[in-house]
């Protein structure tokens, strides 16, 4: 029986040990994230069967909840941890050869910290810990966005920093209010007592926390930092940001609303917000000529879709949302990684500069088109089952409103298809300009990482059954407040 603490402790320790490792050899630190992520992945996979039966509550400091800080490793948390580890591993492999210039040691260290923060957020059972891990995540990502130190990067990082700081401040206020109200920071404890106070006094922290976390979760009006940050960060970081960071923020929002506040009535609001986010993101992406900005905006659209799914708050819709989350992590990471090397090759981020890439970098282009098709939700890629589940859940509501909103979401999907297919055409069928179509593959390691993602996309797309089953238990776990409270406060 491995302990979930390892998921956090080991990478954290490795992260801080990084400078020492660097003293041994300059080339060694590059491999540390690999080791850590591989370790996490194994642990998470080992954990999954046990947590599917019953969540593992890890008390720290010997006291029993609510008087101690506890980790709650439920199915959702562990799956998230596993996903983070997986994405982290793949992207670390990519980064081995992608990150050559600049302060590489610091890069890998911050990268580790980012992953640690993300893992912590999804595993913690304590509101203040949540905040702490969140800060770890955010701060490391600020630094990573500015990694290249060029003007765009610094500007984007500064914007990101400011908005993130505002968000964190709001979050902190909300948490403070909660502590003031209940005198405890344990999620389960708060959840159990939430009914005992007046609605309005619950509302204020709820509003503060939702908007605070919403900044990181990139819900519509709060996501202005995202396009700049994602487009000017190194591609590996863009991948991890839109593949992991946003999802973690979203997880936090959902955990808060579902479990801590149990505020079912906010869902309608979130529903509209989600649809709005979808349309906004897709429309902006449709108008982009810069590939990375386009991908960033499309992430906004995807987040909107996931919010839409979560806000419908049924088992299937939650499963669909989680599935879509998985889809987005894998596909968007793949897209960013592929785009990274294509940009590296053509030296420009303009879509027009990708013309004829299909001849020059066949495998990378293939990976990109897989990612695109999967995001648009075409069978037999992973995007299809998740979209299918979401549509199904929306229609099972049997209400005109939901059907209507679904229509809008699908409209967004249509726009998404339009711009993704445009790019795929540019890659394959437009004649490249002056440059001779000399065929040169990306280096082996990035190709391996892309290959892993592509294989996962296809495989899960063809045989989604086990994933769907696991996710539905996760969804029910996310829905079931009483079980959560009971399992923690035994």
């Amino acid at each position: 029986m491995v302990s979930p603490v390892l998921l956090i402790a080991v990478p954290l320790g490795l992260a801080f040990a990084m400078p020492l490792i660097a003293l041994i050899s300059r080339r060694l630190p590059r491999f540390v994230p690999l080791v850590a992520c591989a370790f996490n992945l194994i642990v998470a996979i080992r954990l999954i069967p046990t947590v599917l039966s019953a969540p593992v509550i890890q008390r720290i400091g010997g006291f029993s909840p609510p008087f101690c800080i506890n980790l709650f490793a439920g199915p959702v948390g562990v799956m998230f941890a596993g996903l983070i580890a997986l994405a982290g591993l793949v992207i670390a492999i990519y980064a081995l050869s992608y990150i050559r210039t600049g302060p590489t040691v610091r890069y890998h260290m911050l990268y580790m910290l980012l992953l640690v923060g993300a893992t912590g957020v999804v595993l913690t059972g304590d509101v203040f810990n949540l905040f702490v891990f969140f800060e770890v995540l955010c701060i490391s990502s600020y630094a990573l966005v500015a990694y290249f130190g060029d003007r765009n990067g610094l500007e984007a990082a500064a914007k990101y920093l400011i908005q993130g700081a505002v968000g964190s401040a709001l979050l902190l206020m909300g948490i403070g209010l909660l502590y003031g109200l209940f005198g405890t920071l344990n999620m389960a404890d708060i959840a159990s007592r939430i009914g005992s106070v007046s609605d309005i006094s619950v509302f204020v922290p709820l509003a503060l926390i939702v908007s605070g976390l919403g900044v990181e979760a990139a819900i519509f009006p709060l996501n202005a930092w995202l396009p700049d940050a994602h487009s000017s960060a190194p591609s590996s970081i863009s991948a991890i940001l839109s593949g992991i960071a946003i999802e973690v923020g979203l997880y936090a929002v959902v955990r808060m609303i579902f479990t801590v506040f149990g505020a079912t009535s906010i869902f309608m609001f979130l529903l509209f917000l989600g649809v709005l986010t979808v349309l906004m993101g897709e429309l902006c992406a449709f108008a982009q000529t810069n590939i990375k900005r386009m991908l960033a905006y499309s992430s906004i659209g995807q987040i909107g879709l996931i919010v839409f799914a979560f806000a419908m708050a049924s088992t299937i819709s939650l499963a669909g949302g989680l599935f879509q989350l998985l889809t987005h992590t894998l596909s968007k990471a793949l897209l960013f990684l592929a785009a990274g090397y294509m940009i590296h090759r053509s030296g420009s981020m303009e879509i027009s500069s990708l013309n004829g890439m299909g001849r020059r970098m066949p495998l990378t282009s293939l990976a990109f088109s897989f990612g695109a098709f999967s995001i648009v939700g075409l069978p037999p890629f992973i995007g299809f089952p998740s979209k299918f589940l979401i549509v199904r859940s929306a229609l099972e509501k049997q209400q005109t409103l939901f059907t209507l909103l679904l229509g809008f979401v699908l409209l967004g999907t249509l726009v998404e298809g339009a711009y993704f297919f445009r790019v795929v055409q540019a890659i394959y069928f437009k004649k490249s300009g002056d440059e001779p179509a000399s065929r040169s593959l990306a280096p082996a390691l990035p190709l391996i990482s892309m290959l892993i993602l592509a294989v996962l996309i296809i495989f899960v797309g063809i045989y989604p059954q086990p994933v769907a089953d696991a996710l539905s238990t996760a969804a029910s776990d996310l829905l079931d407040r009483a079980a959560y409270i009971g399992s923690v406060l035994r």
């Binding site: 908007s211 299809f384 549509v391 199904r392 229609l395 339009a418 437009k430 989604p464």
Partner: protein, 619 residues
């Protein structure tokens, strides 16, 4: 087990073709041909079998199943037959072009997924195959590269995406309503369905199928796509792929819903089949006059494809067994002669160095006799002259329309035919007749592997025209499967009470009269063959180079009709796309790049939450 094997061979074959292409091109071509041939043989062995079987695996708890019956067999046979010919034709046509492995792979893959759509026994797998068909088609349309091909591709994929999203919603709502997507079970459940659900499902499905079948006003993707794709693939597109829409309509109208239900959907005169019929009529006339205005060999054929789709829909929507037989038979006939015509256009393109503009061709009958025969027979079939297959199916459609008392629909159909004569003759004249321009003096004749498919199709056009009983017996079985009473047939035609069709009399009469006149002509007339330069030009020697009347062949008619046959739907869709882009440009302004406003958004969001709470206090 046969059908599973069929699918495995189809999909595996396409992949294997790609792999072999990396080794050697000869191997690839040989294997592709072999694969297509094997598929044809297998489908031949499946003739007449009827079964439905659920597969061992499923998708998200939905059991996949496959079904084989006359309807599926009919469509599968057309798909595989044309596929075989197209592969054979491609060898020379695609020779020397780049990305051949990709081409053959995608071609076979599209065929395989089309096959999947027709043998799918449940709507989910139908949908999955359908989607695979859509995106692979999109990947092949723009193969040529160049702005127009790119535009055609994006136009196609967006419209088909609209269709497939509509279909997804329809299928899922069926699933949520009845908990199954198996076609057989749905047919049972549908009878007890609520009208609202049925209406939703019917409308959504019809959008999908009308788009893919390119009926007005959703025809706009077709002309670009067919004109810009490489010719063998254009043949596949307009011969079989477009007709998947009709397969879907059959499935929807006669397998899932059934007559009784369709009648329940009717509101007075506005019934589903009536609306469909009128859409078909508009399509026929509109497409005929659009085709008149075209000046590109493949674009003319593309528009004719649109129009012929209207005929089939007319036949299908007049729910008599005769109309049904006409529509179904017309699918087969159209798939034969349109493929033939696209092959011919491709051969011309191949030999003249990619000339598709009808103004710069002419006189090629002397250089490419095979292509000329193909083109002439194809056009005759398209017009539907007696002794060609098109005649029989059109005869059935007209007759059922007249006897059903639908004179206006019949009028649209006739008018479309006369339009067909005009552009068909223009096609023949501007390419093959008239004086041979100097720059085409050394055009070579059609290569063998391209001539074989053309000749096969020519023979089929006449065979099915002279012995319509053979294909009509198959068509009859399709009709009976869908619950129509069969027509009484003999091998020469239809001996029915109100006006019979008897092709053998026609054949005999034409043969005898032709022979007699030929005899008269040969015995009495004496003629010497002269060169094309020995031609009446008011006493002058004719100018060298280009001497002929091809430009603006129907100019006065253009002047009359062109104001009325503008392609309004196309303009509308382009406008919508344009507006969407502009809207995106405007929404982008929200992200102004000024961090102060960003922070303001956050505060505003908070404020909005508070406002909502204080006003309605939902929490």
């Amino acid at each position: 087990m046969m059908v599973e094997l069929l699918l495995i061979v189809a999909f595996g074959g396409s992949l294997l073709t790609y792999v072999l292409g990396k080794l050697s091109s000869r191997l690839r071509n040989g294997f592709a041909l072999l694969n297509a041939l094997a598929l044809v043989i297998m489908i031949g062995m499946l003739y007449g079998q009827e079964f439905e079987r659920s597969l061992p695996f499923g998708f998200l708890g939905i059991q996949f199943s496959i079904r084989m019956n006359m309807l599926s067999w009919f469509f599968a046979a057309t798909i595989l037959g044309i596929g075989l010919l197209a592969v054979l034709y491609s060898f020379r046509y695609m020779k020397g072009k780049e990305r051949l492995d990709y081409y053959y792979f995608t071609l076979l893959f599209i065929n395989a997924s089309m096959l999947g759509t027709v043998v799918a026994g449940d709507l989910l797998s139908f949908f999955i195959f359908w989607e695979m068909m859509s995106w692979s088609t999109y990947l092949l349309i723009s193969l040529r590269g160049g702005g127009k091909a790119i535009f055609a591709g994006i136009k196609y994929i967006i419209m088909s995406l609209v269709g497939s999203l509509a279909m997804l919603v329809a299928i899922v709502s069926l699933y949520t309503a009845f908990g199954t997507v198996d076609i057989g079970e749905l047919a049972v459940h549908m009878q007890s369905a609520s009208l609202g659900l049925a209406l939703l499902v019917v409308i959504l499905f019809s959008i999908t199928f009308v788009i893919i079948n390119a009926l007005w006003p959703f025809h706009t993707w077709l002309p670009d796509a067919h004109a810009e794709a490489v010719s063998p693939f254009s043949a596949i597109l307009s011969a079989v792929l477009v007709r998947k829409g009709l397969y879907g309509l059959f499935l929807l109208m006669y397998v899932i819903l059934g007559f009784s239900f369709l009648d329940r959907l009717a509101v007075g005169a506005i019934s589903f089949s009536n609306v469909l019929a009128w859409i078909g009529a508009i399509t026929i006339v509109f497409a005929a006059f659009r085709a008149l205005l075209q000046n590109d060999s493949k674009r003319i054929l593309a528009w004719s494809t649109v129009g012929q789709g209207g005929y089939m829909v007319l036949g299908v929507s007049v729910a008599t067994s005769m109309g049904m037989a006409g529509g179904t038979f017309h699918i087969l006939n159209h798939c034969i002669y349109i493929a033939l015509l696209f092959f011919v256009a491709g051969a011309i393109e191949h030999r003249t160095g990619g000339i598709r503009d009808l103004d710069s061709l002419g006189g090629l009958i002397k250089k490419m006799p095979v292509a000329f025969v193909g083109g002439l027979v194809g056009i005759f079939g398209l017009i539907g002259l007696p002794l060609t297959n098109g005649f029989v199916s059109k005869w059935l459609i007209y007759k059922s329309l007249i006897l059903e008392g639908r004179p206006f629909l019949a009028f649209a159909a006739f008018l479309g035919t006369w339009g067909t004569i005009l552009y068909g003759y223009k096609f023949i004249h501007n390419i093959f007749l008239g004086q041979l321009p100097d720059e085409l003096r050394d055009v070579k004749r059609v290569p063998f592997t391209m001539a074989v498919p053309i000749m096969v199709l020519v023979v089929l056009v006449f065979l099915f025209g002279v012995l319509p009983g053979i294909p009509l017996s198959v068509v009859n079985q399709v009709g009976t499967y869908m619950g129509f009473e069969p027509l009484d047939l003999n091998v020469w035609g239809i001996p029915s009470e109100s006006g019979t069709l008897n092709v053998v009399n026609l054949l005999a009469a034409i043969a005898v009269a032709g022979f007699l006149v030929w005899l008269l002509f040969k015995t009495l007339g004496r003629s010497t063959r002269v060169d094309q330069s020995d031609n009446y030009a008011a006493g002058a020697a004719i100018p060298r180079g280009r001497y002929g009347f091809t430009r603006e062949f129907y100019a006065p008619l253009y002047r009359i009709v062109s104001p009325y046959v503008k392609d309004f739907p196309d303009a509308l869709f382009l406008w919508i796309a344009d507006r969407t882009k502009a809207l995106g440009g405007m929404t982008r302004k929200i992200y102004s790049g000024y961090v102060g406003s960003y922070v303001m958004y956050i505060v505003l969001f908070l404020a909005a939450l508070v406002f909502v709470q204080l006003t309605w206090s939902p929490w």
